[in-house]
């Protein structure tokens, strides 16, 4: 079967469209926080939640019991809940008439289970009959049409056939299919974890799998005749068309079915989707794969599994036969469905199982005749008991008893709709609670201007973990702190010392143009010590096919020593290991753009080094035997710019042939040739920033945070990162604004730019006067230990050295105080309050404790994003829950800086917030479950146990404590300090942000510094309100009167 190009493209576009709601999955080496419903962000929040439930089977809100626990814990204000109930109740007239606010309040706060129970067969009349003290009418026998309708609704054409078979014949094809597909993914997408890689991967996923699957004995022994299916077409698109035709799926249902197939393993699908769009990703270039391949493999396996089961048992082989089976044997199909979906009446389970196993029509007819009324009665009984219980608890025992069947039907319909939307009520109540608390802590009145410059100005990432240490520093001494996105506004592509690949140090929304290279200063001699050699040897032994067998016998004891040390005395052991491990050499970054001459010179120098090495390797000739002239001549010859015999050939008596061979070797093996040189030149052209770019980035960074005058002696640029052991999620704790990497490099880059005299001269022309004694100093904030380490101190002017001790003291003290504050929330809980010095020690232990599943809370409990001047939040304890971006609207008359903040940092914060939200409300589906069961898969992600979908989202240990939410799952509240029109224009000017705000993914409050009033976006419009209970003496929030803007 050969498909026309048009049809192939149609199938491709179907797959492409079907994958839209599936979130990308980035390799975990650089964990990217993202919204699991990112593909649905163009829908209003509640609608997206519903669609997410249908696609990923994930819950969009916490369970009611969890919200009740939060209410009891004081994290939801009862008044806010009352208000939210009243707001929602207007849309439910029947409920309002029945019990109103009291009934609903009781339902939400005192009932754990839903009041509306699933009723497949029971009608409102049945429930009414039981409530009235009677029994439901027996009915007129079995309604076959109703049964058929129930079954047809359960198995729409978009639903894969194997799911129907699983639910009707208990076949578990879906489970087997997932297992087989996961194994294929683990083989193909491996990034160096397995010692023996899958062959033929360079041909692409489908081609490589097809070749293997046709010869796979295990599949053959399972009765899966893959070859017969693969013979039908050469292309994955052709295979998809063939399988769907074979299964009898109408073409109109293909898109729906493809969505369901892809979302079955949405972790792997999300990874493949990301990989397709990452052209620079090494593994994607080497081993291409796309979702069409993935789907084709899934469908081939599905069809072969269905065929295999059909051969063994009498069951439908396609949709036509399924339809026919439902029509011919509705009672048996219904009973099967009841039994194998777990909906069967427990008391009847055994008899139903026996009956469907025997398959005797008379017996089944007898059974269904008894089963249907019994089930109806059971459903009606459960429903009426739930209503009675609710009414009793609300203190209105007759609330439902007195209703007519018609009214009860309305109440039940509304109750069902209400309970589906109930999460929004809780959510709004939680958000109101937080909003009031946050706004009441803000100080809208600016502090009087400083008389003298501060001792140090410190720029921190906007990350919520910076809030605590900023507050402690400001409390301790003469420090002025600022918040800025952790990449300091400079998108950098970075190649670290000894690495061959580039890391993008910026939000994933941006693609950096400039490359920064880390090079060694040469201050320390680079040599391989014994320890490193042993480490490499051990690594090689562990990662080959056979050697682990004897390695364990020979040196297994060494691992035991390592294990005991790491477990019993992690701090001591790691200190000892640090002593024997070689330190990272001191380095510099290549930040300045190279001129053409400089680039040429670098390439020449590299080529000369390579030629010397080549001569040594090929002929064993040492460097002292050859001159620079000989090397230069050989280089010219390799580049094709020299003819005739070289002096090298003359000096070492090389024949013409041998000389030509060597020149060819230089060109091919050592890549001394023109095209490679050109490529190197192009790459070198990407290195560094021009003077204009450097001036622009420094000016932009300083202006965006409102720091344009009163520069202090130290301007410390603090990048941050996390440190932990045995933690695949370590990069999730690093800087999100740096693409999930540490922020130190970005700090070093901006410091280099800021300290450059020429840049400062240009800045002066732009009105930013940085005094000569001001020095930009990079630093690293370790968020696990709270330590702040200063870097590039060797570049510090001598005049600053005398202040260094004071600076270090201050940082150390702030570290201890922050650790003492932070460790109160980390286990072990309930212990005595720690002294700052003990707390710092405990926090330090978390950085090296390999048994610690929660080295820090990371960004958990994030809830707010404040864009404004520091005086708004200075001195307020915001509990490490807010992203703080410094911004002075007075320096941004055209709103461009604000637009930049909204486009980058705010959107990144919203991704982080949504990742935490969904991982909290449904950790199994949107999060990654418990870390305890995780295994690293393919070096790119984690799976649960030995075989599962790639786990997306955050682990339970990051967002839950003792199974209860530690993170408050609420939407990000952005507070912008700027005149209303100014901020509104900036929001309206950024389409993405406008969409997020209007669709309710971000909540926005504009705090107008000129009127001290707030403007809040709610229900599609801006509402003007007074600032609740603010520190400048505003009124009680409850007394605040809302006025329409």
């Amino acid at each position: 079967m050969t498909l026309s190009l048009g049809r192939q493209l149609k199938i491709r576009s179907m797959v492409h469209m079907a994958a839209e709601p599936i979130p990308n999955f980035w390799p975990m080496r650089t964990f990217i926080h993202h919204n699991p419903l990112h593909g649905l962000e163009d829908h209003p929040f509640p609608e997206a939640i519903e669609r997410g439930r249908a696609l990923f089977h994930g819950r969009g809100f916490l369970a009611r019991a969890d919200y009740q626990w939060l209410l009891a814990d004081g994290r939801i204000d009862p008044d806010a809940l009352d208000t939210a109930i009243d707001r929602a109740l207007g849309g439910y007239p029947a409920l309002q008439a029945t019990g109103g606010h009291a009934l609903i309040h009781t339902l939400l706060t005192r009932c754990r289970e839903p009041a509306r129970r699933p009723c497949v067969l029971a009608a409102a009349e049945d429930v009414a009959a039981i409530l009235a003290g009677g029994v439901p009418s027996a009915g007129d026998g079995v309604d076959v049409e109703r049964i058929e309708d129930i079954l047809r609704r359960a198995f729409p054409p978009e639903r894969p056939l194997y799911e129907a078979l699983d639910h009707l014949y208990d076949t578990r094809i879906g489970e087997t299919l997932d297992e087989l597909l996961i194994k294929t993914c683990l083989d193909f997408f491996d990034e160096g974890q397995s010692a023996w890689p899958m062959p033929g991967r360079e041909q692409g996923l489908f081609a490589a799998w097809s070749q293997l699957a046709q010869r796979n004995l295990r599949l053959f022994l399972r009765g899966l005749h893959i070859k017969k299916i693969l013979d039908q077409s050469d292309t994955p698109e052709g295979i998809i068309a063939f399988v769907l035709d074979e299964l009898g799926i109408p073409e109109s249902s293909w898109p729906g079915l493809i969505v369901r197939e892809l979302t079955h393993l949405h972790g792997w699908a999300g990874f493949i989707r990301w990989r397709e769009r990452a052209p620079r990703y090494h593994w994607a270039r080497e081993y291409p794969a796309d979702l069409v391949d993935f789907l084709a493999i899934r469908l081939v396996l599905a069809l072969s599994l269905v065929r295999e089961h059909v051969r063994r048992r009498r069951m439908p082989r396609n949709r036509f036969e399924l339809e026919a089976r439902i029509t011919e044997r509705p009672a048996e199909s219904f009973l099967r469905h009841e039994l194998f979906t777990g909906a069967v009446l427990p008391t009847r389970a055994e008899s139903v199982e026996d009956a469907v196993a025997r398959g005797r029509p008379a017996e089944i007819a007898r059974l269904i005749g008894a089963y249907i009324p019994e089930k109806r009665q059971a459903e009606a009984g459960t429903q009426s008991r739930a209503l009675e219980e609710l009414a009793q608890r609300a203190g209105t025992p007759n609330a439902f008893r007195e209703l007519s069947p018609g009214c009860l039907a309305e109440v039940l319909t509304e109750l069902e709709a209400f309970e589906r939307r109930e999460g929004m009520i809780w959510l709004e109540a939680m958000e109101t609670t937080y909003r009031r608390a946050l706004l009441s802590r803000l100080h809208p009145t600016p502090a009087p201007p400083r008389e003298k410059r501060p001792f140090a100005q410190m720029l921190f990432c906007i990350d919520v973990r910076s809030e605590r240490i900023r507050r402690q520093l400001e409390t301790l001494g003469d420090y002025q702190t600022y918040g800025i996105a952790g990449f300091f506004g400079v998108p950098v592509s970075f190649i670290a010392l000894g690495k061959g690949s580039e890391d993008h140090l910026c939000p994933v929304l941006l693609t950096p143009k400039n490359l920064v290279l880390e090079v060694t200063t040469g201050a320390e001699k680079l040599e391989t010590d014994l320890y490193s050699s042993a480490e490499h040897l051990l690594h090689d032994l562990k990662h080959s096919v056979l050697s682990p067998y004897f390695t364990v016998e020979a040196i297994g004891l060494l691992f035991g020593f390592d294990m005991v040390g790491k477990t019993l005395a992690p701090r001591l052991y790691n200190r000892w290991r640090h002593r024997i491990e070689s330190d990272k050499p001191s380095t510099r970054l290549l930040v300045d753009k190279l001129t053409r001459e400089q680039a040429d010179s670098v390439v020449r120098a590299l080529q000369r080094v390579i030629i010397v090495e080549a001569i040594h390797k090929e002929f064993g000739i040492e460097r002292e035997s050859i001159t620079d002239a000989i090397i230069r001549e050989l280089r010219e010859a390799a580049l094709g710019r020299h003819t005739g015999q070289t002096h090298f050939a003359q000096a070492f008596a090389l024949g013409k042939r041998a000389e030509a061979d060597f020149i060819q070797t230089l060109q091919q093996r050592y890549r001394i040739n023109r095209s490679y040189a050109q490529m190197q030149l192009e790459r070198l052209g990407r290195i560094g920033f021009s003077l204009d770019e450097q001036t622009y980035f420094v000016a932009q960074a300083l202006r965006s945070i409102g720091l344009t005058e009163q520069f202090s002696r130290f301007i410390i640029l603090t990048g941050h990162g996390s440190q932990s052991h045995n933690n695949p999620y370590e990069s999730a704790l690093d800087c999100g604004a740096c693409g999930g990497s540490h922020g130190l490099v970005s700090a070093r880059v901006l410091a280099h730019m800021g300290n450059k005299p020429e840049v400062r001269r240009r800045l002066r022309r732009e009105g930013i006067h940085i005094p000569d004694d001001a020095w930009f100093l990079p630093a690293f904030h370790n968020t696990t230990s709270d330590a702040i380490e200063l870097h590039d101190l060797d570049l510090l002017p001598a005049s600053h050295l005398v202040y260094l001790e004071r600076l270090r003291n201050g940082l150390q003290a702030a570290r201890r105080r922050t650790a003492a504050e932070r460790l109160q929330t980390l286990p072990p809980e309930g212990g005595p309050e720690l002294e700052p010095i003990q707390a710092a020690r405990m926090a330090q232990r978390n950085t090296v404790d390999w048994a610690q599943v929660r080295p820090e809370w990371g960004l958990a409990r994030n809830a707010g994003f404040i864009i404004g001047r520091r005086h708004l939040t200075e001195g307020s304890d915001l509990e490490g829950r807010t992203f703080l971006h410094s911004y002075d609207y007075r320096l941004d008359p055209r709103g461009r800086l604000l637009a930049n903040i909204l486009t980058g940092p705010l959107v990144v914060a919203q991704w982080i917030n949504m990742e935490h939200y969904f991982s909290t409300v449904d950790n199994e589906h949107y999060g990654s479950g418990s870390k305890v069961y995780h295994n690293v898969a393919c070096r790119l992600g984690v799976i649960t146990g030995n075989l599962s979908d790639l786990r997306t989202g955050l682990p339970a240990q990051t967002v839950l404590r003792d199974g209860r939410p530690y993170h408050d799952p609420i939407r990000l509240l952005a507070v912008i300090e700027a005149p209303f029109e100014h901020a509104q224009a900036a929001i309206d000017g950024v389409a993405k942000v406008r969409s997020l705000v209007t669709n309710g993914w971000i909540l926005v409050v504009i705090l107008d510094p000129e009127t001290h009033r707030i403007h809040r976006f709610a229900d599609g419009q801006w509402l003007e309100e007074p600032l609740p209970g603010a520190a400048h003496g505003q009124t009680d929030p409850t007394a605040a009167e809302e006025t329409r803007a």
């Binding site: 754990r112 777990g342 069967v344 009446l345 427990p346 008391t347 389970a349 055994e350 199982e353 199994e924």
Partner: protein
Amino acid sequence: MSVFLLILAAFFLPLFPATMLFTRLAVSTQPLPVRLALVVFWPQIGVVLILWGELEPGPILATWAVMSALFYAFRMLTVREVGRWNAMLAVSAWPLVWLYALQTPAPVDLVAVTLALTTAPVLMLVVREVLVGRLGAAYTGLHGGLARDLPRLSGIIVVATLAAMALPLFPGFFALLTLLGSAPVGFAIGILLIWLLWSWAGARLLQGTVFGPRSGPVAADLTAPRAWGFAGLVVALTGAGLIWTGGAL
């Protein structure tokens, strides 16, 4: 007379197809005390018949016993109702007494081995009763993930299932060790296979009840005194088993 007694004993230390009588009775009998009495005394009648009639089971009968036990151990993999599963366990365990009888042990030891093999069915009967009382049925796969909501109930399910799998410390373990110690190689392999199947079936039972995602209705957990009561029963049975094996091994 001895043939008649032998046939009669094959109903009480059930051998296929005489097993059907016990399985039918075990499933249809309702009150727990009656079920318990049935499980405890049924095989003992067989033991009494062997001792009274001085029956000497030959290798053919022993082979038949192993095959019968294997068959029902295999059946345990396919049965989902816990009561029926338990009946299968009993009729898979008791035929092994015939193997022990081959060695003409002391009467007290024969009784003790039979009792040891009866421990797990007794515990499972209690578990079934608790499950039915709380969830309406004791049916694997219907109410999964009980560990999350009903930790005490899950605890007793796990303990009873471990006893059914004849794990160490439970009397069944020592009974099997005793049998293995005295059985010829062929029978020993059969016993090991049966043991393996029990473990497999037990793991499936746990998978369908205790582990996995929670499904089924909300139910109250076992009260602490009841859980302690069950624990006391387990300790007593295990202690008795240990005391007995102290003499037997």
